[in-house]
């Protein structure tokens, strides 16, 4: 078998996961993307351009921050936060959208579409498009337009058109369907900047690669600032892009435990959570073969999470591969625990984290409290929580 860091293979497979299950209409564009991405990777100027943008526009490297009071409160291992929330636009999503915007220009395409759940990917796409003068349309489930309203306004401020999606469960899954349908008709002139490590080949590979700056920096910061590797690294998993970007550069360091946290929602019952790696089975959704919540006919099931960014029935195929090989351990965190972690992090560290991120924070706190003080737990703090403040207040029956 090929070493895990050399996957996917040329058919876009991670083990037997991944692949490309899309209408023929999109195949030529996906082939073009593979080809242009390979050329870009071999082009030092492309890497240089992206690196400069990440430094001067995004503000990278993002700090690896010792959460001193959170560590004290848990009373165990030291907790470090990889501060993706400090990136321009407030989440890891910008790492991917700048890379894909550069690819858009390289392919000579003149329009961009995207889907968004929490709105962070939508904002990051709108930002990259404003930066490069590309017209941008963002599809967003109507339910998410409601619960992530601040991000909708931000997208519009940057000149993007936000199209609410009323079909299905009116969340991320439906937004991806609509973006794909737009792309079916616009593929000659438009690039689809997908927001996570999902979709048909080569998207899971490209998004992972652009997000891998998170894991590379973390490795380096651990080595130079702590003089050692972390014992455990924790990230939340929606589609899985912040987790893949964090984990991929660490995969060959077998001594590091990797933990992905899915949305446990209200309960283990079908429809009450969005945790396909914990409760689903392999199947096809949005162009790839991976764990998914579906019924015995292959119909995608409705899922639930308090967090719009994790409210998705599928997951990136590489995570399915890491689950099956046992390299990454996948667990879940429920709505209520995520809300508690939101509160704890705010009060102990003065950091409002995205409700998505708080799923990872909760489980990292649990892990840290069971470990000795000489151990190091790193959490990918994937995004900031301003977007969630009003919704959290509403859920508590307070005024925002």
């Amino acid at each position: 078998m090929a070493p895990p860091t050399q996957l996917p293979d040329s058919a876009g497979r991670f083990g037997h996961f991944g692949g490309r299950y899309v209408p023929e209409t999109l195949t030529a564009a996906l082939d073009q993307l593979v080809e242009q991405y390979q050329q870009a990777q071999a082009d030092a100027k492309f890497a240089q351009q992206l690196q400069t943008l990440l430094r001067d526009f995004v503000g990278r490297p993002s700090p690896l921050y010792f959460a001193e009071r959170l560590t004290q409160q848990c009373g165990g291992a030291k907790i470090y936060l990889k501060r993706e929330d400090l990136n321009h636009t407030g989440a890891h999503k910008i790492n991917n959208t700048l890379g894909q915007a550069l690819l858009t220009l390289r392919m000579g395409k003149s329009r961009v579409i995207a889907e968004t759940g929490a709105g962070q990917h939508g904002v990051a796409t709108a930002t990259a498009c404003a930066r490069f003068g590309l017209p941008c349309v963002v599809y967003m489930g109507a339910e998410d337009v409601r619960r992530q309203a601040p991000n909708v306004f931000n997208m519009k401020l940057m000149g993007a058109e936000v199209r609410p999606v009323e079909s299905g469960s009116r969340t991320l899954r439906d937004a991806i369907n609509e973006a794909m349908r737009d792309w079916m008709a616009s593929v000659d002139t438009t690039h689809y900047i997908i927001g996570s490590v999902v979709g048909p080949h080569p998207f899971p590979m490209i998004v992972r690669d652009f997000q891998s700056v998170i894991g590379r920096e973390t490795l380096q910061q651990c080595q130079t600032e702590l003089g050692r590797l972390p014992d455990v690294v924790v990230a939340c998993v929606g589609g899985g892009s912040n987790a893949a970007g964090m984990f991929y550069p660490l995969i060959d360091h077998a001594e590091i435990e990797l933990v992905g946290v899915e949305a446990g929602g209200r309960s283990d019952a079908a429809g009450d959570h969005a945790a396909p790696l914990c409760h689903g089975e392999p199947g096809i959704l949005h162009g790839s073969y991976s764990y998914v919540m579906q019924d015995e006919d292959g119909q995608t099931s409705d899922v639930h999470s308090i967090s719009a960014g994790l409210d998705y029935p599928g997951v990136g195929p590489e995570h399915s591969y890491w689950k099956e090989t046992g390299r990454v351990q996948y667990t879940e965190c429920g709505d209520a625990d995520a809300l508690r972690a939101f509160d704890t992090l705010a009060k102990t560290e003065g950091i409002l984290a995205a409700i998505e991120t708080c799923h990872a924070v909760h489980n990292a706190m649990q892990i840290a409290s069971r470990r000795s003080a000489d151990q190091v737990v790193v959490v990918c703090l994937s995004g900031r929580g301003d977007k969630d403040a009003a919704e959290v207040a509403r859920l508590r029956g307070e005024k925002g």
Partner: protein, 265 residues
Amino acid sequence: MSAIDHLFRKLRAEGRKALIPFVTAADPDLEFTAAVLAELVARGSPLCELGIPYSDPIADGPVIQASYTRALAKKVKLAEIFRMLSAVTPTLAAPVVTMVSYAIIRRHGPPQYVADAQAAGVAGLIVPDLPVEESLALTELCRAAELSLIQLVTPTTPRDRALRIIQSSSGFLYYVAVVGITGERQELPPALLDNVGWLREQSDLPICIGFGISLPEHVRQLAPVADGLIVGSAIVRRIADTAARPRHDVLQEVGDYVQSLIDAL
């Protein structure tokens, strides 16, 4: 050889073209689907396409999406659709092909799906989200079961790739008329006739054109270059409000509409 191979051989020998209607299974219920298939064949459709409802159809426009949503809202299962087909296909004077997402086939397992389809009297499969690279195993299974696996070529397909798709397709080649999703169009792309003409020169495989076709003018324009024309959204739209009308009226309207297209062939 599948029933579809036999059909096109016969149609060509008689110098006839096929008007191939598409309807969604279980919209609004399976009893109606059985009745509408019978009506379509009685009106002169030599081949029918049945859409298996799917929760996340990427290639479909609002009309067919909504029909899938209606069918799935009633919790129809694949086994029930096949049961209806088992009863109906022996009574129809025309073969039936299913349009089905690979998500459904993969979930049941391709060997099981092919066996069940064959047992239900299905003559072929169109799998709109299974590109030729991914279709090897299913191609073998279909060949062994004498089912046609109908592949699609689109205006975005490069010509060398189109040649590979023709090689792997059986029954007929589905040429997608437009760059985009299903749905009625007033105008069809001007390059369509040339593109289909080029494909004809490459192979003897029958070619049927679908996506966007809804008007008798379309039929008159395309029939000379094609073996068959596929009409979906324009029919599904006429079925959409079946719950609110006498079924007989809906069948009559759909039948009259399809008849008007057949008359234009």
